[in-house]
Amino acid sequence: MRHETRRLILLLLPAGIVFAAFFLLPMARLFFIGGSGKTGWAAYAAILTDSLYLDSLLSTMAVAAATTAATLVISGISGVFLQRHKFPGNALLVSMLTFPLAFPGVVIGFMVIMLAGRQGLIGQVTQALTGEKLVFAYTIAGLFMGYVYFSIPRTILTVMAAAEKLDPKLEEAARSLGASPWRVLLDVIIPGLKPAFISAGAICFATAVGAFGTAFTLAAKINVLPMVIYTEFTLSANIAMAAALSFVLGIVTWLVLAVARTAAGSSVAAAG
């Protein structure tokens, strides 16, 4: 028995060391730096009381949530479609879809400007059609567009891999029992893809929370937390505040993902 315990501890050791070195220690350090500024631990309170910080935290979460939702819908539909229907050029299209994966955030931001900026395509088309120029690249809508563009490729790939593993017999069984294509989607395909949606959605959300390059490129009117942290750190040299914000950003993201995961898990249990 004691021998068994020793073996377990030994096996846990590598994971434990990595976890401590790259997660626990930096987080602890960050936490203490956050409380070491002129205002002390009040820096943490300021995040909730100072509307600049609170608003940016909330809009960061909102834009990340919207990005995740939009990405999952778009990638879910296209991923299943691309996996099910092999047409000429299918493979080429899939490989092209994964293009944006390689781009840094700055490039994504630049593309958003080309599309929705002052000289952008959308502006020109809307001007020709309505006489009014639609420009939203420098707002949160532009950021949302950039994030969705950036998140779709990896989500599509995850969905396609999961769609390939769906058992076609399940869909046939449901249909034999009278299920319409819509019911098959709700009762078989979406539940079957759920694990993929959860993991891809978590990555998508976390990436959108922390993405910086795109926000930086589109800067003008956008106030998301990574930008605020950058400003505090470089312009105001308020290292303590930057650390406090980073710590809270990490914790809140972790919390949101944990809650989402539990909710999804319990809905599986409730359905089952």
Binding site: D167, K169, L170, E172, A173, A174, R175, S176, L177, G178, A179, S180, R183, D187, V188, P191, G192, K194, V268, A271, G272
Partner: protein, 349 residues
Amino acid sequence: MTDTGNKPVSIALTNCSKTFPDGTRALEPLDLAIHAGETVVFLGPSGCGKTTTLRIIAGLEEPDAGGKVLFDGVDVTHLPIEQRNVGMVFQSYALFPNMTVAGNIGYGLKIRKVPDAQIKARVSEMLAMMQITRLADRRIDQLSGGQRQRVALARAIAVRPRALLLDEPLTALDAKLRDTLRLEIDSLLRSLGITAIYVTHDQAEAMALGDRIVVMEHGRVAQIGKPREIYQRPATRFVAEFIGTMNRLTGSVSNGTFTCKAGGIAWPEAPSSATEILFRPEDIRVVESGEATGLKGTVAAAFFLGDRTRLFVDVGEAQPLVIESTARRDFSHGDRVGLAIDPRGLLVL
């Protein structure tokens, strides 16, 4: 409840061929009539087109242009499966992993918007019928293979389908369970009186379950008939050899005697052109010592099976003869034995 599907349906295929988009010709033009309430077994080796035929009947595939599927005389060729009201049971069970056992069984009723109380009652009835009441709230991954197939059967019949289509439902189970479930399916089909089509490559299963058997070969029907007809009067060599064990002797006929390497067999009705005769192991026996016989062979192997001995007797042909002997006599390799064949069992194909 939608009870319209309670009456068994007759099914007819006319001129149904199937060519898959990749060019594979899975079925040659096929005509088939299945009577209301009968159990028909599609039997044949893997790849002969059994599943394809079943899927055409189910509505999961459409036959090539010109083919027709009729349910009670009504053309349903282009009606998708969800509107055909057929129950399906698959080899891989295909149970919904995100639902409990009860959820699976009640699914078809839920789709039909049957009131909850009625669903509950019907599900309990099904659970009791399949003897799985205590599993009602289990998740699918907590069930054994046999239990899963019981749930799949219950799910398929809960909606009172017009026909039940089963594609190798027992193939994934071990031998003992297969025998038990085969008996259960047999009595289930009989008590329901439902039109059932059962696909298998196992001839013992086909014999036990089928009112009629459709033997298939390379996308064609080789023979349709009652199990006894198929066994005793196979229409082709393929059917003869696919079902049960067949012995074979080559030779020629003269003066009402078939003569082969091992000797002669008196057979007054012998067709004069016969150069090969076929017969079952039960139509040949080893004669007692002292009994006269014109046919002799050498024991190549003897397997004592308890109730009988299975002999392989070399008679100078490519294949030794298979003979079932009573267990009383002890044989060993190399024994010379006299043989007697019952001419009523002889076939020429």
